[in-house]
Point group: C2
């Protein structure tokens, strides 16, 4: 399987994130893709290529233009205030407050465009986030061009980034950008399956009123887990998108038996949709030893995930999302890919 990766993805490296009331070292850091790359090479999965640069146009196909422009200039505006440390907002707006007036100064704009205090924006974030999106776009382009599958080793991840806000370690929604590019390159129907431990709120929001991209997400119940305010089972899409959004919220402690049953349900819905192409938001924080998650999947289950997806017999773009048990992230991610290849 072809892998797309950019060294520029390492340029996003936050010093600390707010977690449980304290500033702690960032769980989402460059060592994550380092170890995935090491494992890819160790098993010799296939060629590893650099992405090509698609510019901002495909980013603005799914994101608000003002939001993308803000991400590009945020660091410069932040440091222009004499700050040489990571940008973390402290306020975010709240229900009932206005969203029709975007503040003018940097602290107000970051309050408008961010959804949490756990996602530091750094000197290299824009370059890394665009490189990450380019990895997804390049993988999508290769699959659109005839490859059976490709893997975008993206970081920062993307699935929490919505139309016009970022958070949950995500800035640009790599998987959504790839899905839209596939549509723009001729695919009539795209299925986007999110197997990260957390609900893909950004992806859901981007495609919520559309029938041409089916979204399915297996994740910890938002009643007890980030992002808390999206991901319930009764979110089924709106307007033309009604019936094309499928959430599978699962309780803390979900094991392989329960998780794989939900995967089976999702796969049947994908088969019923008959997509031209499948995009997989591949989070590995369902792993039993993940430091911020509470599912119990073991490493030897991930090849079964890949095999089940291969059985769909649809061209597939894998896009790396979360997974914070760094020592095992390489094995777990690559296990999905080898399971897919060997099926």
């Amino acid at each position: 399987m072809l892998t797309v990766y950019s060294e520029d993805c390492r340029l996003h490296h936050g010093r600390a994130e707010l977690n449980e009331g304290q500033l702690v070292p960032c769980f989402e850091n460059p060592s994550r893709t380092d170890i995935v790359l090491d494992r890819l090479k160790a098993v010799d999965l296939g060629e590893i290529v650099a992405p090509r640069d698609f510019g901002v146009v495909p980013l603005k196909r799914v994101h608000d233009a003002g939001f993308v422009d803000f991400l590009a200039e945020c660091w410069d505006l932040w440091t222009a205030q004499g700050r040489d440390w990571d940008a973390i907002p402290f306020t975010f707006g709240k229900r009932g407050m206005r969203d029709d007036r975007i503040p003018k100064d940097i602290d107000g704009r970051i309050a408008y465009y961010a959804m949490d205090a756990g996602t530091p924006l750094t000197a290299g974030t824009w370059k890394a986030a665009t490189a990450s999106a380019n990895c997804a776009l390049t993988a999508a382009e290769q699959v659109a061009g005839g490859l059976k599958s490709a893997f975008a080793a993206c970081r920062p991840p993307g699935h929490h980034a919505s139309i016009d806000y970022y958070g949950g370690y995500c800035f640009l929604n790599n998987a959504a950008i790839a899905a839209q590019a596939l549509r723009d390159n001729g695919a009539q129907r795209v299925s986007l399956l999110d197997v990260d431990y957390h609900h893909g709120n950004g992806t859901q929001s981007i495609f919520y009123d559309r029938a041409d991209v089916q979204f399915l997400s297996l994740h910890a119940d938002p009643e007890v887990e980030y992002p808390y305010f999206l991901g319930h089972a009764d979110e089924t899409g709106s307007g033309a998108g009604e019936g094309f959004n499928h959430n599978f919220p699962l309780p803390w402690g979900t094991d392989w038996e329960r998780w794989s049953a939900a995967l089976e349900d999702a796969c049947r819905r994908i088969q019923g949709y008959r997509p031209d192409v499948l995009v997989v938001s591949l989070g590995l924080d369902t792993f039993e030893q993940d430091p911020i998650s509470k599912f119990t999947l073991s490493s030897d289950r991930y090849p079964l995930v890949g095999a089940r997806l291969a059985a769909l017999k649809v061209p597939t773009v894998f896009v790396l999302e979360g997974g914070y048990a760094v020592d095992d992230l390489g094995v777990n991610a690559v296990n999905v890919l080898t399971g897919f290849e060997d099926a």
Copy 2:
């Protein structure tokens, strides 16, 4: 002038707040009311009494019952997770996300009920916040009983706390609770004037659709200042409250000339409303040396504020809000009160 103060207000003492991307010592701390009390005694303004305890009923007259219950139990739920440090949420929900499902675990609930990461909730917060509200209620009761004026030396402050969320150093909206109690004790019309540097978003939201409490706020333009997403001039009330909400957003650098012209405008609107009683949200962060604010009022202007309010000839309840130039906070706050007394 009678002052109401409780030593329990000192029990809220956060270790750090997220500010400009860093955890810094809390600007809102017990030394604020210490210095106000010292100054009150130095000028011998009048008797200083402890509040009586009104219980939770008057709090729930303006706040959501579930929100009040959450504030009461938050610390116990937080520490039950093995955490012995201040509770600060890292995520808050965002526009377009759901607000009809309140998460079940402590991290989700605090995400639902908090509006920023600048307001640590500590072991003593509930006791201090209720003591602070009781100060405002006691002062209101004294004025309802015939006193010309009274001063509630509240902390934590209150005006950012809304119907069902807290933030901006505020947990319970002391001024709104006092205004509602005055209504419940027979006042037909209450004017609530907020002269804090920041917009009183919580107070506005609480009374936005009501004609029986007129709200007026002089503050830094939300285009460039916290809370960013409320406080524009075009927010004039809704439904029955249309025309009873008056915002005076002012630019950074506003001096006495400009500020006092806005005060004059507000006072004329109060006169036109003919309230039975006036509640003043008395923030002193309009001071030229305030560390987090950008207006340029000097200490010798504050007696003029008090004198102008006295000229309204309406029974008046002063409720302390912000003000973070601690060394001068006592002089500035008491200057307003002596200006009122001496007029």
